[in-house]
């Protein structure tokens, strides 16, 4: 019934509302020549429906209609945002003119047309509104176009700034970055890639990357391109880490590189990117380091050889001296009555000093043995109590001379499997230390017996004791409790003790406080647990935690 179109389609629409179809026809006839679209409605309600659906250049509204009259319809139209400014022209009978015009203007009418209307006036009025609408639409569209243009310009600016940032990043990185297309041709390079290869950018772009750049494989073979990881990456055949490759430089020299080839799946002309760095310097450093390590190993080996030869050469002359001195001592004992007393003492001194030299030579050798982890244990079954008694016996003269009183009450045999010579060394070193640092109250107590994890041998003195800080370091190499001026030796005694005990799978601990003397306790399993093996000297040892515990007492 409604929505009649009588004019050629235009974007300009006029709504005509009248309850009399003949009036609608009349208006249609008058406006048919104006172009645009004429929409008709037979009631106020129908008119409201149209207003909801589209914009109109003007609304021609009959005032006198049943149900919703023209004013009521206008009132409702005005309430809607979209239609607040649509020009409304009321159609009214000339007889009602005076009362309707006032009310109509108050409702926002822009004009009046009186029935029976004059075609020319109506047409020209409507034409004005249509033109106004067209102009407004034109301005609006232009504004929209301007806004769209502005948006595009902004978008282009953002894009440019992102591109610029990317470029700056690519320029700033120290790694060479090279992009390749599906044929392995160079699509882009960054300055670092140019710097590493010596080529200018334009000399690389569009060139077959592999033929131009790849020189040598990791194994040193010249690379023809067949079965080549780097070539595969360049052509987008697979992502790979590239290690030990060598590239040609423009000047014919070569450069070792490490890098990573990555495939790109969503970039149109770019299938892969290779990021690489010049490792010339690193290779040189590695080479240099290898050389230094070799030199160091040779130096250590030379030292050990020297110590081995030196010890042999030093012990050989000690052999006839010791045998002679001890032989003379023995003869002197059987001739005690006629031997001058001084002579016996001198023989004793000589014998003791030979023993000391022998010990020093052994310690020198132990350093080289232990630092290379070569402390071989020769296990045999013996009684540790008997061993301690034997060591005390050997020290007896020295102990007597120094006025020491040794207490040793083993109770019974303590049998196990250890390295006899090494355990002898442990007890000797501890006893010798106790004499060195035993102080004024010259009492030393030795104890051998069962321990928590095997057997325990302890040596206790009543000297100055050891402060917690010193307890930390006395087991280290070349450390001594008191300065070199007071006591000689290499400062290896306790370090060797610890190494030997640990080689047996045991541990050594010290219990001491300043002024209260010191007790060194060696704990070894009944059967040496780790015969012939040694912890690396710099490895933390169980002893360490023990020492920490002691310092926290």
């Amino acid at each position: 019934m409604s929505d009649t179109t009588t004019a050629p389609r235009d974007d300009v629409a006029i709504l005509v509302v009248d309850d009399e179809p003949k009036n609608l026809f009349a208006v249609e006839a008058v406006l048919s020549g104006l172009g645009g679209t004429l929409v008709t409605a037979l009631s106020g309600r129908e008119a409201l429906r149209h207003v909801l659906n589209r914009d109109f250049a003007a609304i021609l509204l009959d005032v006198q209609m049943p149900d919703l009259d023209g004013f009521q319809t206008a009132q409702i139209i005005r309430q809607r945002d979209r239609c607040r400014h649509v020009p409304i022209i009321f159609i009214t009978a000339i007889s009602k003119a005076s009362e309707h015009v006032r009310l109509g203007y108050s409702l926002g009418a822009v004009d009046y047309v009186f029935k029976p209307f004059e075609a020319e006036i109506l047409r020209s009025k409507i034409n004005v509104f249509m033109e106004l609408y067209r102009n407004r639409e034109h301005v609006r569209r232009q504004a929209e176009q301007l806004r769209a243009l502005e948006e595009r310009r902004l978008a282009a600016e953002v894009l440019e700034s992102v591109r610029r940032q990317n470029e700056l990043v690519l320029n700033a990185v120290g790694e060479g970055i090279c992009g390749f297309d599906g044929d392995g041709r160079v699509v882009f390079v960054n300055p670092a890639a140019c710097r590493i290869t010596g080529f200018r950018r334009e000399e690389l772009i569009g060139q077959p990357g592999h033929a131009l750049l790849h020189h040598t494989r990791a194994d040193g073979q010249h690379c023809s391109g067949e079965d080549c990881d780097l070539y595969d990456v360049m052509r987008g055949r697979g992502a790979r880490a590239i290690e030990g490759a060598v590239l040609w430089r423009k000047d014919g020299t070569s450069v070792p590189i490490d890098g990573m080839g990555t495939l790109l799946h969503d970039a149109r002309d770019l299938v892969s990117v290779v990021v690489f760095r010049d490792v010339t310097e690193r290779r040189q450093i590695e080479h240099e380091r290898g050389r230094l390590v070799r030199e160091l190993e040779e130096a250590i080996s030379a030292r050990d050889d020297f110590l081995s030869i030196a010890s042999h050469e030093l012990r050989t002359p000690l052999t006839p001296i010791r045998l002679s001195v001890q032989s003379l001592k023995r003869k002197g004992q059987s001739l005690a009555a006629v031997m001058p007393k001084g002579l016996t003492n001198q023989l004793e001194t000589m014998d003791r000093q030979v023993g000391r030299l022998d010990t020093l030579i052994n310690e020198l050798l132990d350093v080289s043995r232990i630092t290379v982890g070569r402390l071989d244990l020769e296990l045999s079954e013996f009684d540790a109590a008997a061993l301690v008694r034997e060591v005390v016996g050997r020290f007896q003269q020295e102990l007597d001379w120094g006025g020491y009183k040794v207490t040793f009450d083993p109770g019974g045999p303590v049998v196990g499997r250890w390295d006899r010579l090494r355990l002898d060394q442990v007890v000797s070193n501890l006893l010798s230390n106790a004499m060195k640092y035993g102080g004024e109250r010259k009492a030393i107590e030795l104890r051998v017996g069962d321990g928590a994890a095997g057997i325990e041998i302890s040596v206790r003195d009543h000297g100055a004791g050891i402060s917690p800080e010193d307890q930390e370091r006395i087991f280290e190499r070349f450390e001594r409790l008191i300065s070199v001026r007071h006591f000689g030796g290499f400062g290896l005694g306790l370090w060797i003790v610890r190494q030997i005990v640990e080689a047996h799978g045991g541990r050594v601990r010290v219990h001491s406080a300043p002024g209260e003397g010191s007790t060194f306790t060696v704990e070894v399993p009944r059967v040496a647990a780790r015969a012939g093996t040694l912890a690396r000297p710099d490895e933390p040892t169980p002893l360490h935690s023990e020492r920490v515990r002691l310092t926290n007492r």
């Binding site: 081995s308 010890s311 042999h312 050469e313 012990r315 050989t316 002359p317 000690l318 052999t319 006839p320 001296i321 010791r322 045998l323 002679s324 001890q326 032989s327 023995r330 003869k331 059987s334 030979v354 022998d358 050798l365 043995r369 071989d376 020769e378």
Partner: protein
């Protein structure tokens, strides 16, 4: 000196190139009533062993020797059925003397410099205690 020559079984052979060591070892063994055949190298030792009817009960062998060292000497000795049975003690200052002695099939090791008592006790262990002549103690001058 003893008036009666000691029995053949009281003889020790010392193969050692250091003259002073040879002299003192010969001396201390003589003090204990042993007779010592002293030779400066393995070749001389072999020659004396093969030429003489005097068969030592023990050979005290240094490792490093001129002309024929301990390894060559042991190879010759063990391949000679008449000599193979004589026990050998290695007497050396070599830091790995224990390992070498094992490899050479020695019955004992004496590390240089030894204590007199230790040296004599090792020798005494192999000495045939047959006629009571092995009493210790120095001989009368």
């Amino acid at each position: 000196m003893e008036t009666d020559p000691p029995p053949l079984t009281r003889t020790v052979m010392l193969i050692e190139d250091d003259r002073d060591i040879c002299e003192i070892v010969e001396q201390i063994l003589a003090d204990e009533g042993y007779e010592t055949i002293v030779v400066p190298n393995g070749a001389e030792g072999l020659r004396r062993l093969r030429a003489s009817a005097q068969r030592p009960f023990l050979i005290v062998l240094d490792l490093m020797l001129p002309i024929m060292d301990a390894w060559q000497f042991r190879a010759e000795q063990t391949s000679d059925a008449r000599l193979a049975g004589i026990p050998v003690v290695i007497f050396s200052a070599n830091p790995k003397v224990g390992q070498h002695a094992d490899a050479l099939g020695a019955v004992a090791v004496i590390r240089k410099p030894p204590n007199l008592d230790d040296f004599l006790s090792v020798v005494g262990r192999f000495s045939p205690a047959d006629d009571g002549a092995a009493t210790s103690g120095p001989t009368s001058p």
